[in-house]
């Protein structure tokens, strides 16, 4: 299932489209505040941008750009980032996950919560990207390369 697809048209089009799909995924994560999407949808799109080269392009190329070890790494880093953001308000006297308790100079509490939401979306996007990539690599049997 993985490996270079026999048709040149498919290879070229997928090679051209994959970076744009990943970029669109990053756009959806970053614009989760203003439009539909957010962390989950964006993470899935970035994962698709990493999976499409695996399906159609030459194996060495596809597994060099997004190595299989990136799956568990991104999932772990995303989870850790989420937990860090959740624990920070505890140090300043607020509740767990209460971003509004953290006071940053020059910003009103609503702005701090806005930034907290942004960091959480990025963390969730990373975690979902890592998880989807890991599941795909596991089922196709390439998770050790």
């Amino acid at each position: 299932m993985t490996g270079a697809y026999p048709s040149e048209v498919v290879r070229v089009i997928c090679a051209v489209a994959s970076p744009f799909i990943a970029l669109f995924g990053l756009y959806v994560i970053a614009h989760g505040h203003y439009g539909p999407g957010g962390g989950f949808a964006g993470g899935v799109f970035v994962a698709v941008g990493a999976i499409l080269p695996r399906l159609t392009l030459d194996e060495r190329l596809a597994y060099r750009i997004f190595p299989p070890a990136l799956g568990p790494l991104a999932a772990g880093v995303g989870m850790l980032l989420f937990l860090l953001v959740a624990v920070v308000p505890l140090f300043v006297g607020g509740a767990f996950l209460d971003y509004g308790a953290v006071t940053i100079a020059g910003m009103e509490p609503a702005r701090v919560r806005y930034l907290g939401i942004l960091v959480v979306e990025i963390a969730v996007g990373l975690a979902v990207f890592g998880a989807m990539l890991l599941i795909f690599d596991t089922i196709t049997g390439r998770s050790e390369r």
Partner: protein, 147 residues
């Protein structure tokens, strides 16, 4: 009567989908069909929740400056949240289920539930599986029988 049907047809249609998914999970003998039935059932549940969030005259829950913060102008956003979580978790479940299927196929050579159940209960010969029959090697350091 027609108002009753218009107000309630959703529940009937979702129930039909649930029944189809249940039939796939219970009656089909092929394990992949069971996972397909699980997916059909899950998506029908998502549909049920989202239909419950619909509000007459409401639009997507993104605050539009022209409409202000009036709750009557938007559909209910809480079910969207629940279903967003449920969809991603559902894909995780399907991923684990498919990994288990691939593992079962490697061990038994088939994905037919009755055949696998027979083999696991000891009624038939396992085929090609390096698990139950192979005596532990001197070079391998592990006992396979504990699996």
């Amino acid at each position: 009567m027609i108002e009753l049907v218009l107000a309630r047809y959703i529940y009937l249609l979702v129930l039909v989908l649930l029944a189809i998914g249940l039939y796939g999970m219970l009656a089909k003998g092929d394990l992949v069909k069971k996972v397909i039935g699980l997916t059909i059932y899950s998506t029908a549940i998502y549909l049920f929740f989202i239909e419950g969030s619909v509000q007459d005259g409401g639009t997507a829950p993104i605050i539009d400056p022209a409409l202000g913060s009036d709750p009557q102008a938007y559909v209910d956003p809480l079910p969207h949240l629940l279903i967003l979580t449920a969809i991603v978790v559902g894909v995780g479940v399907v991923g684990v289920a498919l990994s288990l299927l691939v593992r079962l196929y490697r061990a038994h050579g088939t994905l037919d539930e009755a055949v696998i159940a027979d083999r696991l209960s000891g009624r038939a010969e396992p085929v090609g599986a390096p698990t139950e029959d192979t005596p532990p090697d001197a070079t391998a350091g592990d006992d396979e029988a504990g699996r």
